[in-house]
Symmetry: C2
Subunit: 617 residues, 2 copies
């Protein structure tokens, strides 16, 4: 391999990545990756960042990709460097986030023979990537060049595919690793020019339209929906923001309330919010109200919802279930019989709404129509009651509460802002406390695999591409798990506000059976704090300030103003809200009891109203 | 699965791990892993630690296993938590370190259907583990119980196998996750009792002896060695400390000098050091001396040596090559024809020495014997010259030098101490500057995959099991890559001295072609500092102190005393030695020039002595 051939190869690969739509690359330093690092850095059309820790860099790229909905290129040198990408790759796969992971490697003659910094990288990410391939060595042939250019386009198209996700390109290089010749000039490379003024097409690209159901399937489903007044739409976490308006329209057409996961994109935005419920986590809880409001049919969009009560409700109610989860989606963990709709979510919602126009005419007043209006009205009334009560409960609270940031943020943030939630307790508090708002705030979390790892790095990545301020709320363990993000923040220099809910350990376990049953006297040793509570006693302020960032201790009174200040700052601001784990459980139970009482008193709450046909709401 | 059956299953599994020899477990907190976490914590025979960050915990366990030469159990809950173990698993595989990685998982009915914190964990570590298996769910049957107990013993035996390495046991659990019944009492479980007073045998265990060559093979090799005066022993990095004495004996028997990698265990210890060379990295460099001292035969033990000049010498000299690399070892990256000896290193060395007694009698004075003595003498004289000169050069140096800690440490440390070196520049400086000493100091590094990740965490693990002080020398990028280790250190609370060579970026690249060729005017943009130098400007002191550890800035005058103080402290002490990257290259070149001149002037250095037969040394 001549250095000149190497230059041609990496230039062609990078050029095709850009033509296929890549605009950002995250590079981790190394030697074997030199040819691609240079070519990426040299391309005018790419924004490149060099980050030290590959684990943090992987999540940073994930955050960029999730927020921008663009494919991000991620490059590392050979060895364990590329293994450090694996947590982010797994999350990207389950969360359907487009990443093009490029790993430099030794050539064949240096593999599996004890050469330094050489591990088995072939199909390293196993089942966790959409596609895995390996580039050939540069050899000056037109076949190799065409193949490499084609691989770049295919990698990007596959990452953006349906479902989107990570792809892996392993790229072996033989020494010398420094290419000769100009990398920066980007002369017009040969390729199909289809007259696109924006800079030409990729060598290989995929033109793709949304998958839509047939008329027959739509008619069959619409008939069933029209005949079923007691229905719900469950909007689970979704990868992209495009389906909110269509699902809101389907809710209006069906009269089905939308139990909107905070990660569905349904709670926040300019679409019709009239049927969007933000308090589903309370509404779904066991009790007399929900016993009278069990759904017969559920249309679920996206991933499984965050709310455990909602999942338990589905298990208990055993409704007929449509799961609209895109091409090849099988996400259904309640173990109910289900019909999976392998079609585009937005298209399916609007096609179904269209099919329902004649089946559920607005002015209808037959028995089913009356039941339907009553059903809808009961849910909306219960939502309103829970919403009012929870707002009042929180307003009256005179102590720190872990759900408070999510209740506040929609009032503080405006369009284009991003709220990112940690994966353990914060995302559950997000679910419980984020109200609906017409402001177009993006709500995000690492909820593919729900790990507590890499959360701050991902939010930094979001901040690198977001058009508005980004606020992350996470717990102290998740913060300490991702300390490398504080280094990444120094290098990346993006504005991010981090709210750390510091309860000195693992707060979520206080809500699990482990807390209740592992105690002296029940036959197991008292291992709770050692194994689950894991108090660490580490002060966060000195770490944050030691790494050159701002830190501020806040309480329930100063939180709102501190958030308002922080989102206007450059760089990283950490606001620390200290809470107590046992007290946190008590407060959540108090709020839930208040909400339950309000729901029971709501217009659908009386036993006399229990699904009685013919009674208008 | 009843909670009682679960209790029986995890108790049996943990009991068998202990019977098979496990004494330490590292646990990362989580919910799905509850049954095993409780059982591990409850066993009196196990020392357990709970660490937050699985990446750091993985390397911590690796450090424990490498230093103790015992198998360490590593447990995490399901999801990306277990993916964070992957970098340490890959390193353990290539470095042949015994780890039993146990990953909690969801049961079959919750996999691949969108359930929370559920990823595809089956064979997650791919080709990077020696064995991968999955436990069945508890079901109250004797078949399951016997199988689970057998798996535990086999997992430990395989991890300790030949070669040693990581194994993966995926352990699915169905709710309820809290076992009932006593976990702590450890009543005698049914199993084969072979009368071992130490506590019984494991249900399944492997009795294994070293693999030894046949007499015929030994005779064939001994004949060749006896006929070849110009031979070298190259002792590469080795996993265990058992072969040093035997290899030293082989050197005496053959007259072959030992070019001893610092990670070979040959430079430090009570064995015969008469033929052990510590300056091989200088001796092997191109020049007139080495041109007259090219070996005809090389017996290489262990992994590929760290020294690039030595590897280049082998490529250039093209000697006959025996690679003694244990069972199934194929580590040979020079691409020379080689005979791989798949037998125990220590046994092979002593068997060969035995076979050579009659073939190379001590008083012999035929032409080959004379050549042999001259050959040995030349190498030892050159070593002595280089050693004297380098010591003098360093003693005269009045500025910080990155090799200095390694030159100092053998004077400061005593038996049972551990020196751990970072993987990039530090391990090369270790190679260049660690002299021989009769003190039994263990020298270690992550040199399986040579990653800069997890180095501080690994050294903390070493400190958790070492009988003497542990000193880690690493660079600033490696330090920043593993900030989580500063949290691990807070929790683990073990004594460790860390010397950070802070040259504000990636020092090793200054020695690579990237530094010379990527500059304005040679056709490539000036990307060196952005992509390779990666200066970060981050002050280390505030980070260290912010996390509650000691930090001290040292220079060439205060280093020795600071080291002497630090190794007597509890907890973590970070000594920061600031250096300059370009100046570091100059100093290395100066030292190399001085050494080269001394080698040329040594007794084997004159052209008149060039391999002339019959000239006594």
């Amino acid at each position: 391999m001549t250095a000149q051939a190497l230059s041609v190869l990496v230039r062609a690969f990078v050029e095709e990545l850009v033509r296929a739509g890549v605009r950002e690359a995250v590079i981790c330093p190394g030697s074997r990756s030199t040819p691609l690092a240079l070519a990426l850095a040299a391309h005018d059309g790419l924004d490149t960042r060099v980050l030290i820790d590959e684990r943090s860099a992987g999540f940073f790229a994930l955050g960029m990709a999730r927020t921008s909905e663009r494919p991000i290129v991620l490059l590392a040198t050979s060895g364990t460097a590329v293994v450090n990408f694996a947590p982010a790759v797994v999350e990207a796969s389950l969360a359907r986030v487009p990443l093009v992971v490029v790993t430099a490697d030794r050539p064949a003659e240096l593999r599996d023979r004890g050469a330094p910094q050489t591990i088995d990288q072939v199909r390293l990410y196993g089942s966790h990537v959409r596609w895995s391939t390996e580039l050939p060595l540069a050899d000056d042939t037109p076949e190799t060049l065409a193949h490499v250019r084609s691989v770049a386009g295919r990698a990007v198209a596959t990452a953006l595919g349906s479902p989107a996700g990570p792809v892996h390109v392993n790229a072996p290089f033989r020494e010398p690793l420094v290419p000769t010749g100009t990398l920066g000039a980007w002369p017009e490379l040969p390729g199909p020019d289809r007259g696109d003024p924006a800079g030409g097409h990729a060598f290989s690209e995929a033109t793709r339209g949304p998958r839509r159901l047939s008329r027959a399937d739509l008619a069959r489903m619409a008939d069933r929906i029209a005949a079923t007044p007691r229905g719900l739409i469950v909007a689970g976490p979704m990868e992209t923001s495009g389906a909110a308006e269509a699902i809101a329209g389907l809710a209006v057409a069906t009269g089905y309330p939308i139990l909107a996961d905070p990660l569905s994109g349904m709670r926040t935005g300019p679409h019709d919010l009239s049927h969007v419920l933000a308090r589903g986590d309370q509404l779904a809880r066991p009790g007399p109200w929900i016993d009278r409001h069990l759904p017969d049919l559920v249309i679920r969009f996206g991933a499984m919802p965050t709310s455990k009560p909602l999942v338990e409700l589905l298990r208990h109610a055993q409704p007929a279930l449509y799961v609209v989860d895109g091409d090849a989606g099988w996400r259904e963990a309640t173990l109910l019989p289900a019909e999976f709709v392998h079609a585009d979510g937005a298209a399916t919602a609007s096609d179904l709404a269209g099919a329902l126009v004649l089946r559920i005419p607005p002015g209808d007043d037959d028995e089913i129509a009356v039941q339907r209006r009553k059903w809808t009205g009961d849910w909306l009334a219960a939502e309103a009651a829970a919403d009012r009560t929870m707002r009042a409960w929180l307003a009256d609270l005179d102590e720190p509460f872990e759900g408070a940031p999510f209740a506040l943020l929609p009032e503080i943030l405006s369009d284009d802002a991003v709220v990112w939630a940690g994966s353990s307790m914060p995302v559950r508090d997000l679910d419980g406390w984020l109200p609906t708002t017409q402001r177009a705030i993006r709500i995000e979390a690492n909820r593919g695999a729900n790990g507590i790892d890499g959360v701050m790095s991902a939010a930094l990545g979001a901040a690198a591409v977001a058009r508005g301020p980004v606020v992350l709320v996470l717990g102290d363990l998740s913060f300490l798990h991702d300390l490398g993000a504080l280094v990444t923040a120094r290098i990346a220099d993006v504005p991010l506000t981090v709210v750390v809910i510091n309860n000195d350990g693992g707060g979520i376990f206080s809500f699990l059976p482990q807390a209740a049953t592992i105690a002296p006297g029940v036959g197991l040793p008292d291992r709770y704090e050692q194994l689950f509570g894991t108090p660490h006693g580490i002060a966060l302020g000195p770490i944050v300030e030691g790494l050159g960032h701002r830190h501020r201790l806040v309480d329930e009174r100063s939180l709102a103003a501190a958030l308002g200040d922080a989102i206007r700052q450059s760089g990283l601001t950490v606001l620390e809200l200290r809470t107590d784990r046992p007290r946190n459980v008590e407060l959540h139970r108090q709020a839930a009891a208040a909400a339950a009482a309000a729901i029971a008193r709501s217009s659908g709450g009386g036993p006399e109203a229990a699904g009685a046909p013919g009674v208008s709401s």
